[in-house]
């Protein structure tokens, strides 16, 4: 059966589109993983799951209030709205861990590592508790299904012993942040 030319054209475009969308995502993150600057984010993991993507470890990071001065946060809380995308710049502190150095509504122009995050919720009234909660783009670490609960147990053990520590290894490049690994007391969570 002879198909008109536009069918071949349409089919070809469909094929390219279907392969192109996931390939482009994979490429961007692959580059960030290989060439990005590495940062260690202090974290606490918990273990939920997603119907399509499987088990993952949900990471919680230290609140903004521990990283930026109260005054700055108070001022920011009045400017932002929930759901807004903001840009966070990152520095490494003297203990070797990542610390946010600033939150901006626009992407910073200076050449310093930053990533985009979403404002989760705001609290402008209670000035002693959490005033700004951010959603980081690297809060999920997917794991093989049987390992996720085990990893959580290991994390709990690490918590009891205050000499142990847990951090997320994140690579950042050009505003894109990729989670490379979660390390519990010096050992990868996948081991």
């Amino acid at each position: 059966m002879n198909k008109p030319v536009y069918f071949f054209l349409a089919f070809g475009l469909m094929v390219l589109f279907q392969l192109g969308v996931p390939l482009q995502t994979a490429y961007r993150y692959e580059v960030a993983l290989r060439k990005g600057t590495a940062f260690k984010f202090d974290t606490e993991p918990i273990d939920p799951n997603d119907p399509f993507r499987g088990k993952y470890v949900d990471l919680r990071f230290s609140p903004l209030e521990d990283q930026l001065p109260r005054k700055t946060i108070k001022q920011l809380a009045t400017q932002l709205v929930p759901g807004q995308t903001v840009y966070a710049t990152v520095v490494t502190d003297n203990k070797g861990y990542a610390r946010l150095s600033g939150i901006y509504p626009e992407a910073p122009v200076e050449d310093m590592p930053y990533f985009s995050a979403q404002v989760n919720y705001l609290n402008q009234w209670d000035t002693t508790g959490t005033m700004i909660s951010l959603r980081y783009p690297f809060e999920r670490f997917y794991l093989e299904e049987h390992r996720a609960p085990a990893a959580e147990d290991r994390y709990r053990e690490a918590l009891r012993d205050s000499t142990q520590n847990v951090y997320a290894l994140v690579r950042i490049r050009g505003g894109l942040a990729v989670l490379e690994d979660v390390v519990i007391n010096g050992v990868s969570i996948t081991k």
């Binding site: 198909k3 094929v15 993150y29 399509f52 690297f138």
Partner: protein
């Protein structure tokens, strides 16, 4: 077929039909069987594609972390390429085979979903379920048109509805999301094409149901919190009348009478009855946010209401003035037209609102009882009685009414069931006799 052949032989042996008639009947049956394709291969190919596709998604979700990233990426793309190959083969070599076409398209649809899931898993992408569904919907949209796949179109509608609920109802922070409407519009031409070219197909009938249901759920995504909430409530009531009108108009245009195939009409009718049942209670009116408070007409809810109302007024006028549309005695168009005034009255005086709700339910019940009697249709007749029964059951919970009144209401409706059914069956038997008599 074999049984029919032996029956033919028996009839021929008994001398009821001659040999040529027997041959002609056999030929007719054969031709009819050829015209009605066997649905089994289609069902199995769809089920197979669905199971294999879902199996791949589950395998992906297991997350094989001992493989390296590139092998994982290869595995992610393999099913997509396979699906594309199968779709290509189906269109090139088996264009007339629905089982091949629909099966391969459905497999491709699931494979793209698995691929996207796997890529975001490999790179640990944060991202809500709604953003994942969003990308998937985009990638699937061309499949519907390029491969002309009804099965994928059905799943697409389910997918965009899921997306709408994820993005707006469960998502946080709540915000407007107009993408659902864009996706719905994008798939509409395909649905219209199905209606035109494959009116009798089961796929098309499923679409008749899933689209009005999806739109009903989608309408809620336009809700704006805080202001003018009752405009959306009102908008919903008129919207359901609108769905009903679409169903009615398409029935009147195509002449198709079967209700089971008319999802638009049924969703609109049943939805309206559901809302009316709620509004037949006084407390519902008492707790409703007032229409003219808090500058509700400045909200998006008002805009949504205004657009729906204008559309429904237009279609009501068009249909009510067409004699052949036969809509003049149906209570629903009037409910749609009068709804804003009913809301204003009901909020001013909740008891009046509840009474109007009850009156409309009663009218709907009586209308269907009348229609059932006129058409000699026990189903429609009993549907009308069911509406009234539902209404009476609701009144059972109304503490305002005395037990005597409620008891009497139940008695009257119970008797109504008996009498109307007996009347219709008797009348049927009588007409059967009159038809038979001349032949005796």
């Amino acid at each position: 077929m074999a049984k029919s052949a032996t029956e033919l032989a028996e009839l021929q042996a008994a001398g009821i039909i001659d040999e040529t008639t027997a041959q002609r009947i056999a030929a007719y049956w054969e031709q009819r069987a050829a015209a009605r394709p066997n649905r089994l291969p289609l069902v199995f190919s769809l089920l197979g594609a669905l199971l294999v596709g879902l199996g791949i998604i589950l395998l992906v979700a297991h997350n094989w972390d001992q493989l390296n990233r590139f092998i994982k990426l290869l595995i992610a793309f393999l099913p997509v390429v396979l699906g594309q190959g199968a779709a290509w083969y189906a269109w090139q070599n088996r264009p007339e085979n629905v089982a091949w076409r629909e099966g391969s398209a459905l497999f491709l649809f699931l494979a793209t979903g698995a691929c996207l899931a796997m890529v975001s898993q490999i790179y640990h992408l944060e991202g809500s379920l709604s953003s994942y569904l969003f990308t998937w919907i985009w990638v699937v949209l061309p499949v519907i048109y390029v491969l002309k796949s009804s099965a994928v179109s059905l799943f697409y509608w389910v997918g965009i509805t899921w997306y709408a609920t994820e993005a707006v109802y469960w998502g946080y922070p709540h915000g407007a999301d107009y993408w659902y409407w864009f996706f719905a519009l994008a798939a509409a031409p395909f649905y219209l094409w199905l209606r035109r070219t494959r009116a009798g197909s089961n796929f098309t009938i499923f679409h008749h149901w899933i689209i009005p249901l999806s739109l009903t759920i989608g309408l809620g995504t336009l809700y704006q919190q805080g202001q003018g909430g009752s405009f959306l409530w009102l908008g919903y009531q008129i919207f359901l009348v609108g769905l009903f009108l679409v169903g009615w108009a398409s029935r009147y245009i195509s002449g198709q009478q079967r209700l089971i195939g008319n999802g638009w009409l049924m969703v609109g009718l049943l939805g309206s009855i559901g809302m009316l049942l709620a509004q037949s209670f006084r407390p519902v009116w008492e707790s409703m946010p007032a229409i003219f408070e808090d500058n509700g007409w400045q909200s998006r809810n008002f805009l949504v209401f205004a657009v729906i109302y204008a559309t429904v007024i237009g279609s009501c006028i068009y249909l009510l003035f067409r004699r052949t549309a036969d809509l003049r005695w149906h209570p629903l168009p009037y409910l749609g037209l009068l709804a804003p005034f009913i809301y204003i009255m009901g909020q001013g005086n909740p008891l009046l609102g509840a009474v109007i709700g009850n009156v409309f339910l009663l009218l709907l019940g009586v209308y269907h009882i009348g229609l059932g009697t006129q058409r000699d249709h026990l189903g429609i007749l009993n549907f009308g009685l069911l509406i009234i029964t539902a209404q009476i059951i609701c009144r059972f919970f109304d503490t305002d009414l005395s037990f005597t009144v409620r008891g009497l209401l139940f008695l009257v409706v119970g008797a109504g069931f008996f009498l109307t059914n007996i009347y219709l069956i008797r009348r049927r038997q009588k007409t059967d006799h009159t038809v038979l008599k001349p032949e005796e």
